[in-house]
Subunit: 283 residues, 2 copies
């Protein structure tokens, strides 16, 4: 019997990246994560039919929205079909046999190093050494085996490269979450993700309105007057059009719910541009 | 005659950082930039009276809002008194005497390296080498003088450390702007910034409302029904309170304008929490 080929799921980063953890949360171990260097390459590969789906970060609780990916959502026609939230936990990771006392240099992405300043503050002998990628720094110490070197990355990266966790959760702020979307080709039947069950529906959309006083107020009226609640709203200047704005908006409900359809029709009357990016179960 | 001591202006990063360029745009060369490692240290120093003002980034056109600094604006009592926008231009920078043909390694912050992928794509012999800081990478190549090394940073960093620009504007996307705020102690008489002239006033505020359907709609009504226009709005979940949200909002007008005062009073009736962060001339 021919073995069914695994789902190919695109992401940006090295194996062991937090995006890969998001893929596992959504699809378990049956999915094959396909690493890409850049976000636009992930979108292009999905668009070209080389991937079954893609998983990309949209927002971090400390760093804010990833505008590049919102732009790419607009540029390509993929649809959001699921979301998940990954708690970003930074671990101190070393090759087997290297003890904490031996560590003098710690490699990681500067953003990760900067999120562990309390740790470095209380271990002055340890030097922060910037590296290209969190998971990539684990791969590097496992290949080069410096006697005094460690990395900061996810638990998954430690597992993938066979390294040991010396200290868990050394990040300064535990309220560090990243929200990921799963994208599938527009019109495809969305695949089932783990634990979606009975969680409520969310719908993400983007629209633009002319910058006249009250324009956003009236647009939100299309939802509020129907008792549809917002989850998130964010405005962004339209490139090259200084007086126009895009709004990214998440609401509770499914695009096929009658009340949501009515609200979207109403919003369409007011907006210069409106696109529904997808409906999916809340994480 | 005693020489007047220069204004001490705090920022985060190394000398030559884009924040220092923002300080120059706002205050010219009469201000003394005081470097800090972390944003919270900048806010704490301003709060403790060790600085006359601080200049911090709030938003990048590609990367989005800097939520950490919005949080710090809430935590401390400083007031926004000016804004400016810096075009982020990445330059290839080397020590004097090093030619472009000699370059094999380029050092910079990974975010900057990632914003110059077209350059690296067309010069495959050059290796991207992550470093802690853009301006810091210029400082390093001027101290260590590698024969084949260059850095990516601002023109200002090249000037400060006496390095040469080999190639200007090697960033992939020219729509790369960062918006900075100048902060001064609450209640202080705001100092005059360059070119503020007759530019229109903006006011920034933050408020929270309970997550009931239509709550944001009614809140925006306080502005819309008075023909006050929005510049920007962004929602953010309140930490530890999953059903409550903070909204960051910029509007056109000064907090002392009668119509804005009325709107703020009205908004105060609807919001659980409201704070005006400052009124300032638009950049």
């Amino acid at each position: 019997m021919k073995k069914r080929s695994p789902m190919r799921i695109g992401f940006q980063g090295e194996l062991g990246a937090f995006s890969q953890q998001a893929i596992r949360q959504l699809l378990g171990l049956k999915a094959e994560p396909i690493a890409h260097q850049r976000f636009d390459q992930v979108f292009a590969a999905l668009d070209a039919g080389k991937l079954d789906a893609a998983v990309i970060p949209l927002e971090n609780s400390l760093a804010g929205s990833v505008h590049e990916n919102y732009d790419l959502l607009l540029k390509y026609r993929a649809e959001i079909t699921a979301e998940t939230s990954v708690r970003v936990i930074h671990n101190l990771i070393a090759p087997p046999g290297v003890s904490f006392r031996a560590i003098r240099k710690v490699y990681s992405h500067p953003v990760a190093l900067n999120q562990c300043l309390d740790f470095f503050g209380s271990h002055a002998r340890i030097e922060r050494t910037p590296f290209y990628d969190t998971a990539g720094s684990v791969k590097m110490i496992m290949e080069d085996r410096p006697a005094d070197g460690a990395a900061i990355a996810s638990e998954l990266a430690a597992k993938i490269y066979g390294a040991h966790i010396l200290k868990r959760g050394i990040e300064d702020d535990r309220q560090n979450f990243t929200r990921f979307f799963m994208l599938e080709p527009a019109g495809a039947k969305p695949r089932t993700v783990r634990g979606a069950g009975k969680r409520p529906w969310k719908t993400s959309l983007v629209f633009s309105i002319r910058n006249i006083p009250g324009a956003l107020f009236r647009s939100l009226g299309a939802l509020a007057l129907r008792d549809i609640n917002l989850v998130k709203i964010e405005s962004r200047p339209l490139r090259g059009k200084p007086w126009e704005y895009l709004f990214y908006l998440d609401l509770w409900g499914h695009r096929e719910d009658q009340v949501v359809r009515n609200a979207l029709n109403h919003l369409g009357e007011l907006a210069d541009f409106l696109r529904v990016l997808g409906s999916y179960r809340a994480a």
